[in-house]
Amino acid sequence: MEGAENAFKVRLSIRTALGDKAYAWDTNEEYLFKAMVAFSMRKVANREKTEISHVLLCNVTQRVSFWFVVTDPSEKHTLPAVEVQEAIRMNRNRINNAFFLNDQTLEFLKIPSTLIPPTDPPVPIWIIIFGVIFCIVIVAIILLILSGIRQRRRKDKGPSEVDDTEDKCENTITIENGIPCDPLDTKGGHVNDAFMTEDERLTPL
């Protein structure tokens, strides 16, 4: 049967999939395989009468690999490969689960498996994280700019405010021509900032 027109080769890698819990491949497992194939064929239109005895296995090797073919009820002709392929593809998941295997460890050569479509979340994760980081950065920039503006406004207002409070100041620094004789003492008393500006160096008499 090997290489026959409607025959398919199957390869199982039980040890790879299950490691220590691997089961041995014997005639009972073959019976289960035939049952699964017959079950898959029964789901196809016009093939509801497929029996387990219609599925033939041969060339079972140590690898574990074998060939199988499905015959019609008369047992004279084999079913076309396209139908068998279609049936297996539709029920691939059930067949895999019966043997605790997956698409890679239970291979039907010549029958491509349907890949899982990619599950894209509605909003990609990177956009969410980007949004968080960007908002933090913008808020920080605005805060820094505002604090810079406030600092500058305080610096500008500083000398002009002290001008108004000049009369209230209890300043005992001796003054001559508007320039204090003592060096500016910032440690004690009120410092009259008005006298620090260079404009006042020469006061009109």
């Binding site: 390869r11 199982l12 890698s13 039980i14 040890r15 790879t16 090797t61 140590q62 690898r63 574990v64 690999s65 491509p112 498996s113 349907t114 890949l115 899982i116 479509p117 990619p118 994760i125 990177w126 994280i129 980007f130 980081i133 960007f134 950065v137 913008i138 920080a140 920039i141 820094l144 700019i145 810079g148 503006i149 500058r152 001559e176 021509n177 320039i179 004789c181 160096r201």
Partner: protein, 569 residues
């Protein structure tokens, strides 16, 4: 009685003092952060593996600032994509019929596909610009915003940010060191790193590459170090600082090489194991041996036995040759190391998303601290030259600088952006910096005068520089720089400049196709290489002319005054 002018009032009439570092640590960290950049991580280990001027500076720094941030953009994109399990570059996406994987991905690898197609969406030719990759544009905006946030008030803000951006990479490197050394295969990688290959060491190209690497690694010639140092107090032990920065930079490169090579050793061992597994599977399937009957250790013996008994069948299988050295030899540097080799290695580590976040976070902070230096080298000259009127706050100046650099760097988010980045990296950065450094050394030692300079250093540090410094400044450094320059020119002149293109239609794909740059791109390369350098003689000429005209004017005025004087008597 006038107030004695103190040091604060010198030069700045409006009361705006020159900013100062909060402490010495901030200065050192900034210089180290500036010097220690992406190159320490991905260029130095590559070299180990294969063998064993102020307007010009400003131009170069601007050019580099423009494209360097594009690399940060890519790193940010990968960082944002690392917060998911499984990582997006771990598997190929299925094609439209869901029967197999996308062909381009299948032929190359899932990591290469994610880099070239899903990140860059690269075209096959530099002429074919394509459109803007909007994901990269969005990340570019974010990374320029982060840079602006950190340099908004000059060193006042960078000084704070540098604590994190300069120290975090060392923390991550240490974590990777512990993880890397415990991975299987790490020892092979480290042996490979430290075993010198004597015949390769005799190749002069090795030493040339070593010299260029240490030169570029220290980030000299940008004006960044000059800018940072200008914020130090005048009496500063600059000799100790220079030695510290150079030592820390080299130690970091070595440290990074150890880590990179343990991870590469792990990856090579992994790839070797999988190569063996593929061969074993072919043998098992062809000869119908029981599943898992041949272990990796038995493979050689079984293959030898089969070669004797059934040589034709074995030959017909097309088995690959699996040697560990071949996998270790697969060298990569630059973007190849970070985005392809390392990302693949991370996939095989348990807890992959965490490692990816750490790795790309480290790369981002490394690049960020280098960007501080770059932007400082651009903004400090602008501030000192008084380009903007005094009442304009510094935040606006830095904002304008960042905005213009951002607009210029949009070009790199096009589909051909990667090729343009290579052009900038190869031509804007290399020759100019070597020439500037050469001119700086020669200018100070021969024109300003060695004795005058030694006096200045003695005033700053308290001691005259020793014979070692004088000999290196006078002879060794200029000679080395000249050699590097001549060698570079010779290499460039040997063949027409070409680049490697990612072309899925190429018959030898996934090997990259070697294309020659079209004429107009070659002209751009020339301009990038020589325009900044030409600014040096241009400005010198301009200053000469101005001085000449001033002298003439002074001479004319003298002539007019003399007859009047005699008349007044």
């Amino acid at each position: 009685m006038a107030l004695a002018p103190g040091p604060d009032l010198l030069g700045d009439g409006s009361g705006d003092e020159r900013p100062k570092w909060d402490n010495k640590l901030q200065y050192l960290l900034s210089c180290v952060g500036f010097a220690v950049g992406l190159g320490n991580i991905w260029r130095f280990p590559y070299l180990c593996q294969t063998y064993g001027g102020g307007l010009g500076c400003f131009t170069v720094s601007s050019l580099i600032g423009i494209y360097y941030n594009t690399v940060l953009t890519w790193v940010l994109w990968y960082l944002l994509n690392s917060f998911q399990n499984p990582l997006p570059w771990s598997a190929c996406p299925p094609d439209r019929n869901l029967t197999g994987f996308v062909e381009e991905c299948q032929r190359s690898s899932s990591v290469s596909y994610f880099w070239y197609r899903q990140t860059l969406n690269v075209t096959a030719d530099i002429n074919d610009s394509g459109s803007i990759q909007w994901q990269l544009l969005v990340c570019l905006v974010a990374s320029w915003a982060i840079v602006y946030l950190c340099i908004i008030r000059g060193i006042e803000t960078t000084g704070k940010a540098i604590y994190f951006t300069a120290l975090f990479p060392y923390l991550v490197l240490t974590i990777f060191l512990i993880r890397g050394l415990t991975l299987p295969g790490a020892t092979e990688g480290l042996t490979y790193l430290f075993t010198p290959k004597m015949q390769i060491l005799q190749n002069p190209r090795v030493w040339l590459d070593a010299a260029t690497q240490i030169f570029f690694s220290l980030s000299l010639g940008f004006g960044g170090h000059i800018a940072f140092s200008s914020y130090n107090p005048p009496r500063n032990n600059c000799k100790k600082d220079a030695v510290t920065i150079a030592l820390v930079n080299s130690m970091t490169s070595l440290y990074a090489a150890i880590i990179v090579f343990s991870v590469l050793g792990f990856k090579a061992a992994n790839d070797h194991g999988r190569c063996l597994d593929r061969n074993i599977l072919s043998l098992i399937n062809a000869f119908d041996f029981p599943d898992q009957s041949i272990s990796r250790d038995d493979y050689a013996a079984v293959l030898a036995h089969l070669n004797v008994t059934q040589p034709e069948r074995v030959a017909g299988l097309g088995l690959e040759s699996c040697h560990l050295e071949d996998f270790l030899d697969k060298s990569a540097s630059g973007t190849g190391l970070a985005f392809i080799v390392f990302t693949e290695a991370i996939l095989h580590m348990p807890g992959a998303p965490g490692w990816a976040v750490l790795f790309f976070g480290m790369l981002f902070t490394l690049g960020l601290s280098s960007m501080f230096g770059n932007m400082e080298a651009v903004i400090t000259p602008l501030l000192d030259m008084g380009v903007m009127p005094r009442w304009v706050p510094k935040e606006v100046l830095t904002g304008v600088a960042c905005l213009s650099c951002f607009l210029a760097s949009i070009h790199f988010t096009l589909h051909s952006g990667n090729y343009w980045l290579e052009v900038f990296d190869r031509y804007a950065a290399s020759l100019n910096l070597v020439i500037f450094a050469f001119l700086e050394v020669v200018g100070i030692v021969y024109i300003y005068g060695m004795n005058r300079f030694c006096d200045d250093v003695a005033w700053m540090t308290g001691r005259r520089p020793s014979l070692y410094w004088r000999v290196t400044w006078k002879v060794v450094s200029p000679l080395l720089l000249l050699t590097i320059f001549v060698a570079y020119i010779a290499l460039l002149a040997r063949a027409p400049p070409s680049y490697r293109a990612w072309n899925p239609q190429y018959d030898q794909f996934p090997t990259q196709q070697e294309n020659v740059y079209p004429g107009w791109v070659q002209v751009t390369c020339m301009l990038l290489s020589f325009l900044p350098v030409l600014l040096v003689p241009a400005v010198a000429l301009a200053q000469l002319l101005v001085r000449h005209r001033r002298k003439k004017k002074a001479a004319l005025q003298d002539m007019h005054l003399k007859p009047q004087d005699s008349g007044a008597c």
